[in-house]
């Protein structure tokens, strides 16, 4: 077995037993990142830094001071600020930006011994569901449809992170999830993606899109690997006022495999006519697996589900229009027309630096917050958000976790669904509710579509109960026995 075929847990154990050095593990992944360049999963590769970090890991292992992620090579979504390493948010407007600080989440990963392979491609400012809005070009999904050579999208916005993990370039990756940007790409690429509870992982140093909806979280190829990463990423941070001061459990220890007596909700509003039959089939299969594991299945209603996306497309652009006001050509990044008056400079810089989708969302956000429309749109959407959170609150009286499909389709081809922004927004129909309610949710591969593409199952849990979500996911993962591999695997 080559080192890139190991799971994160397997690599960790091999390093601990000295069957493998951190240098060997990192060299194999650096070569895999190079081999996978056609996928365009990375905006920046950092091989020298990776090898330096691996050497430091070997030294710590030799001294018996290994951290929980010692020597583990990771891809970091290029929305996380990394000290001295260019950070773009997938946008031209941050051209030349090298943060002078490190995001809290990545600093915790390095504290625990992880190795930086590079910065992963993404939709511009994380606004997208296909990775097509990146100023650095689309990412290609390592999967292909059976008997069809067209290039597919990896989903978005964390498309580079997901493609890198699926193609065996990295043992894990960071992502961010504002409406589904971790779970939908995980579903499209056949891997595991976890969005923790709002406040569980610090947002400090992560480029802001919609602050009340943005969630940092991990990607990995197994549930166990996701649990290991989450433990290092999570924790209270005084620098993020919405970070929550609760203890971080040992998530790996939660994978007991015992689900007896758990009540699992199946919400009827997630059964849509427009969804391909295979998605329903995988969902039904998931329900059967949980029954066999001793769970009680409970039919549920989450009545406001269909209003979640429209509410999201008021709240997220509103917050984005405010957050992205900072890109004004003064403090960092691009400046255009610097010889003209201040307002002209602002307008020229933002007109040239932002892509079409980002401009569209800033304009929608500006409109819904403007005088005369604030109540009709923004306050209305925040009231609907309360109703959606109340739907879940009522559900937790009856169930311990909720099982749904992750996305309404499998990966689609590059260029499809590009004409109508609303059609693209519908990609998040099953994931966005957990963002609005701040609840932990995971996607794991449940099966294949008729043309051989991975389809994800989603589990949603109570606030700060990632342990139950992971425990159920672990059992589903074992039952699914998902062994299918993408068309492209680095180094093969």
């Amino acid at each position: 077995m080559t080192p890139t075929d190991l799971t994160l847990a397997g690599a960790r154990d091999a390093l601990a037993k000295k069957q493998l050095s951190a240098r060997e593990l990192t060299e194999a992944h650096v070569a895999a990142v190079e081999a996978a360049r056609p996928l365009n999963a990375f905006i920046l590769e950092t091989p020298e830094q990776a090898l330096e970090m691996a050497a430091a890991s070997d030294a710590r292992i030799a001294k018996g001071e290994a951290g929980p992620l010692e020597g583990i090579p990771l891809a970091i979504k290029d929305l996380y600020c990394t000290r001295g390493v260019a950070t773009t948010a997938g946008s031209r407007i941050l051209e030349g930006f090298r943060p002078t600080y490190e995001s809290t989440v990545t600093s915790q990963l390095w504290r625990d011994g992880a190795v930086l392979l590079g910065k992963a491609n993404l939709d511009e400012f994380a606004m997208g569901s296909s990775n097509m809005t990146s100023a650095f070009g689309p990412v290609e999904n390592p999967w292909k449809r059976k008997g069809d050579n067209r290039k597919l999208v990896p989903g978005g916005s964390s498309g580079g992170s997901a493609a890198a993990v699926a193609a065996r370039c990295a043992l894990g990756a960071t992502g961010t999830d504002t409406g589904g940007s971790i779970r939908q790409p995980a579903s499209f690429t056949g891997i595991v993606g976890l969005k923790p509870t709002y406040g569980r992982c610090s947002r400090w140093g992560v480029v802001a899109f919609a602050s009340s909806l943005d969630h940092p979280g991990p990607f990995a190829r197994t549930v166990r690997d996701s649990a290991i990463l989450l433990r290092s990423m999570a924790g209270y941070d005084p620098k993020d006022s919405t970070s929550v001061d609760v203890p971080v459990p040992d998530y790996e220890a939660a994978l007991t495999g015992d689900l007896r007596g758990l009540r699992i909700g199946v919400p009827k509003e997630y059964r849509l006519d427009s969804v391909p039959e295979a998605i329903d089939r995988v969902w039904q299969q998931g329900i059967e697996w949980l029954k066999q594991a001793g769970c009680e299945i409970v039919e549920l209603s989450l009545p406001h589900t269909r209003y979640a996306l429209p509410a999201y497309y008021v709240i997220a652009p509103a917050e984005a229009s405010s957050n992205l006001a900072r890109y004004d050509g003064v403090r960092y990044g691009l400046r255009q027309a610097g010889d003209q008056a201040l307002t002209e400079m602002y307008e020229a810089t933002r007109g040239a630096g932002f892509g079409e989708e980002v401009k569209r969302r800033i304009m929608i956000g500006t409109y819904v917050l403007s005088a005369g429309y604030y109540d009709a749109y923004y306050n209305k959407a925040r009231k609907v958000r309360t109703l959606i959170a109340n739907d879940f609150r009522a559900a937790w009286e009856k169930v311990d976790a909720i099982l749904t499909p992750t996305a309404p389709s499998a990966a689609f081809a590059i260029g499809e669904k590009m004409d109508d922004p609303v059609a693209m927004y519908l990609m998040d129909v099953f994931t966005v509710t957990a963002n609005l309610a701040g609840l932990p949710a995971i996607s794991l591969p449940g099966g294949l579509s008729t043309d051989g593409l991975p389809l994800g199952l989603q589990l949603i849990g109570r606030a700060f109960d990632e342990e139950t979500v992971l425990r159920v996911a672990g059992v589903l993962e074992e039952a699914a026995g998902f062994q299918a591999e993408p068309d492209f695997v680095a180094g093969r």
């Binding site: 960092y332 569209r360 929608i364 500006t366 109508d420 606030a463």
Partner: protein, 95 residues
């Protein structure tokens, strides 16, 4: 509610984004499409529902009113397109 080209220009001005004429034309259709879709929120009766302010119910942490950060102006201006003597430089504001 729908937007016309003058509204699009006004929003672009408020958002400080330069929008060329052809782009403004196509934004009218795109923004109206999105707004028409968002209108369905009007079907819901939200009388007496409190708008959500915080998704996680928690008391905000208080800290001592003390200086805990700062003292590195060179880091702050390190990424500025133009800076001088530890200050950001912007185009002339007053003639």
């Amino acid at each position: 509610m729908s937007v016309d080209i003058d509204t699009v220009r006004r929003i672009a001005k408020l958002a400080r984004i330069r929008v060329e004429d052809a782009q403004a034309e196509s934004l009218v259709g795109e923004l109206n499409n999105i707004l028409a879709w968002v209108e369905q929120l009007g079907e819901l009766d939200t009388e007496g529902v409190a708008p959500m302010t915080s998704v996680v119910e928690q008391k905000l942490h208080l800290r001592a009113d003390a200086v805990t950060d700062g003292g590195y102006p060179e880091d702050i201006v390190a990424n500025a397109p133009q800076s001088a003597h530890g200050f950001f430089v912007v185009p002339k504001v007053v003639e």
